[in-house]
């Protein structure tokens, strides 16, 4: 049965509930991911993100509600259009690099010749072509993660679902992954990813849903979500020591001489900056805008309002 809720909708989750025994893990969750989105799926550990993804991919059966991909309940006919990188992921460590990539490409419906060509192209892109005949167990951890990603990307999917794709990656490989995701998105792929690295999310995501204890806490475009938390947050680069003053502002992050200060309802941004100068803080640079996603995330997780 096909549902046309939204012409551009790639993922449609409506009133999704998933319980294990009597314990609800996902509670009445709803959101849409549109075609071309780089969509962040955020939440603390154990908040129900992986369970929601498993429901989307029919690995788990929802207790109630619907989870649709390309307008349909997931079935394996869609597998060739989807690339899934689960949180719990491994490899056939005794197998060779090339045969692993080709095997999964074939399972996703590619011909052997096409699979080999795509595998070589991918290995070349991630600088592993010299290792095509190497047993996976002989590769470094970072190289193995590139193979895991290769399994996900080899069929050039229309939709990528990545559960913590940067987990365990060093900065170089993390940067390479971001480039790859950018390329795929530019080529029309929709990307849904789970991450705890809010700086990465801010760099690449355009929309997000944040869940807390299985329920939706925030949902919308990155800017919309951040605006809900004000537009008067002061981001400063400074020298000296920022004094503590709860009556005047709240500091959400202070490290490496970079701080994020949000005035209270009784004060203005000018009051805060004047206060800092009076306390011999040298301000090198400052901007006023929305809080960082890191700040938003911490607020949501600590707040009882959500």
């Amino acid at each position: 049965m096909r549902y046309n809720y939204h012409v551009e909708s790639v993922i449609h989750v409506k009133n999704l509930v998933k319980s294990f025994g009597k314990t609800p893990v996902v509670k009445d969750l709803s959101f849409d991911v549109n075609k071309g989105d780089v969509f962040a799926f955020l939440g603390a550990n154990g908040s129900g993100k992986t369970t929601t993804i498993r429901c989307l991919l029919d690995i788990l059966q929802p207790t109630r509600g619907s989870a649709l991909i390309f307008g349909n309940k997931f079935d394996l006919a869609l597998a060739s259009r989807i690339g899934y990188l689960p949180e719990e992921r491994g490899l056939y460590t005794n197998a060779q690099v090339m045969e692993t990539l080709v095997y999964f490409a074939q399972l996703k419906g590619m011909t052997t010749a096409d699979a080999k060509q795509k595998a070589l192209k991918y290995l070349d892109r991630v600088e592993l072509s010299a290792h095509h005949a190497t047993e996976i167990k002989k590769l470094s951890s970072g190289q193995q993660q590139k193979i895991q990603l290769g399994i996900t990307l080899i069929n050039a999917p229309d939709l990528l679902i990545l559960d913590e794709p940067t987990k365990g990656l060093d900065p170089v490989n993390r940067s390479l992954l971001m480039e790859l995701l950018d390329e795929l998105n530019e080529n029309g792929a929709t990307i849904v990813f789970v991450s705890h690295q809010m700086d990465e999310v801010e760099k690449i995501a355009n929309r997000l849903v944040m869940i807390k204890n299985g329920s939706q806490a925030l949902y919308g475009s990155l800017q919309e979500v951040k605006k809900q938390f004000g537009t008067n947050t002061i981001h400063i680069t400074y020298q000296g020591e920022i004094p503590s003053n709860d009556a005047m502002y709240r500091s959400s992050s202070i490290e490496n001489n970079v701080a994020e200060l949000t005035p209270t309802s009784e004060t203005s941004t000018n009051d805060v900056i004047s206060h800092l100068i009076q306390h011999n803080v040298i301000i090198n640079d400052f901007t006023i805008g929305t809080p960082s996603l890191q700040d938003v995330f911490v607020k949501v997780m600590k707040s009882e309002q959500y």
Partner: protein
């Protein structure tokens, strides 16, 4: 279907290229010899029972027109007869246990005929020791050097068997097909299924299962593995058959094979039944392996847990002598209907002609139900346990899951 083929192909290639596969395949004959050694006690007991059975015979008729056997040796249960046809009819109607015919020209023919009851494969040569010792004692008492060659197995004994009034044939050739069937059963059920357990456990242990679930159907994944592993077993069989053929080919100049290969009986009904029992036995244990591999977090734990089921399934081997002597007895009947032992015991009883047509039909239907039930539970356990990476699935959660699913 393509997924099953791809998975089967991968399972096959990854296994046959491991050196351990070839080592274990070639070590199999050694293992079989060891098993024979272990079951030696059972065979010894069986031989003693056969001798006891011969000694406990109530009536043995002796046709000896020239009184080759001295009268002094003709004591109960031995009874001398004059009418050979009447004596044979007593064997046919079952009123006598055996008839020994000592020909007039025994010194030249060196041959004694024995007519007796067919009580299964164990009745083969049952009275041979009695005849040999009788001849030996008679020769010793006559002190005739010309008769000396008859002592110590110098007499050939030709046996004729009767069952329910009909003459039957008991020959080793009859057991070639059943023995081949048991070898096939052993390979498929125990060795191939061990590969299956390894494969299911590794899939989980390697954390590949979730990716696989997003690409292939769970049933395809399992059937692909089963098909691949069956092909692996056939490869082992091909290797072993080739090795055996080579040994026979190179050895025929040195010793005689005690089996006339041209006399091997190819009964299509029995062969079909053997194949059915082999396949069903394989599938029942395969379902156990899938279930165990799914609920245990590591291969090591799965292997130790699965050994309980393996021991249960080879349990009939420990009392094989009872099966041979009483193939329709209570114990044989019980183990014929226990899921893990049914295929092996039914195949054994078929060999011993101890299965009625009704029993074949009923037991076959039950075995099919066991296979279906086994895979139903195995797939449910696979659904339940395959994503439990670090924990064993508890019995309570299995119970809850199965009850919930069936409601």
């Amino acid at each position: 279907m393509n997924h099953i083929y791809l998975i089967a192909q991968r399972e096959y290639i990854r296994t046959v290229r491991k050196p351990i596969f070839w080592i274990s395949t070639l070590l199999l004959p050694t293992f079989i010899i060891l098993v024979s050694f272990v079951s030696g006690y059972s065979a010894d007991q069986a031989e003693k029972s056969i001798q006891e059975e011969a000694q406990n015979a109530q009536s043995i008729l002796l046709y000896d027109p020239l009184t080759f056997i001295p009268e002094a040796f003709v004591i109960d249960p031995l009874e001398k007869v004059q009418d050979i046809d009447e004596a044979k009819s007593k064997i046919i109607d079952g009123s006598a246990d055996a008839l020994f015919i000592i020909p007039e020209d025994i010194t030249t023919t060196k041959k004694v005929e024995v007519y007796t009851q067919d009580t299964g494969v164990m009745s083969l040569g049952k009275f041979d020791p009695v005849v040999q010792s009788l001849i030996g004692a008679s020769v010793a008492s006559q002190l005739d050097p010309q008769l000396q060659p008859l002592i110590g197995g110098g007499v050939t004994i030709e046996s004729t068997y009767y069952k329910n009034g009909d003459r039957t044939e008991i020959s080793l050739e009859k057991y070639v097909i059943p023995l081949a069937a048991f070898a096939l059963y052993f390979l498929l059920v125990f060795m191939a299924n061990n590969f299956l357990l390894t494969s299911v456990s590794e899939e989980k242990e390697n954390r590949m299962i979730e990716i696989m679930f997003s690409i292939v159907e769970r049933k395809s994944l399992i059937w692909g593995k089963i098909v691949g592993i069956t092909l692996i077993a056939f490869t082992q069989i091909a290797v072993l058959v080739s090795a055996t053929a080579l040994i026979i080919y190179f050895s025929t100049s040195n010793f005689d094979i005690p089996i006339d290969l041209t006399k091997i009986v190819f009964d299509p009904v029995n062969i079909s039944l053997y194949l059915f029992y082999i396949l069903s036995g394989f599938l029942i244990i395969a379902s156990v392996m899938v279930g165990v591999g799914s609920v245990m977090p590591t291969y090591k734990e799965a292997q130790s847990f699965s050994s309980i089921f393996i021991i249960a399934s080879i349990f009939p081997m420990y009392f094989f002598s009872i099966l041979l002597q009483e193939p329709t007895g209570t114990i044989s009947q019980i183990v014929s209907y226990f899921p893990l032992t049914a295929p092996m015991v039914l195949a054994a009883r078929l060999t011993l002609d101890a299965l009625t047509a009704t029993e074949i039909v009923v037991s076959s239907a039950l075995v099919i139900l066991y296979v279906i039930g086994g895979f139903y539970v195995a797939f449910k356990l696979f659904e339940l346990g395959s994503l439990e990476y670090n924990n064993k699935v508890s019995f309570d959660s299995i119970k809850e899951y199965l009850i919930k699913k069936s409601n």
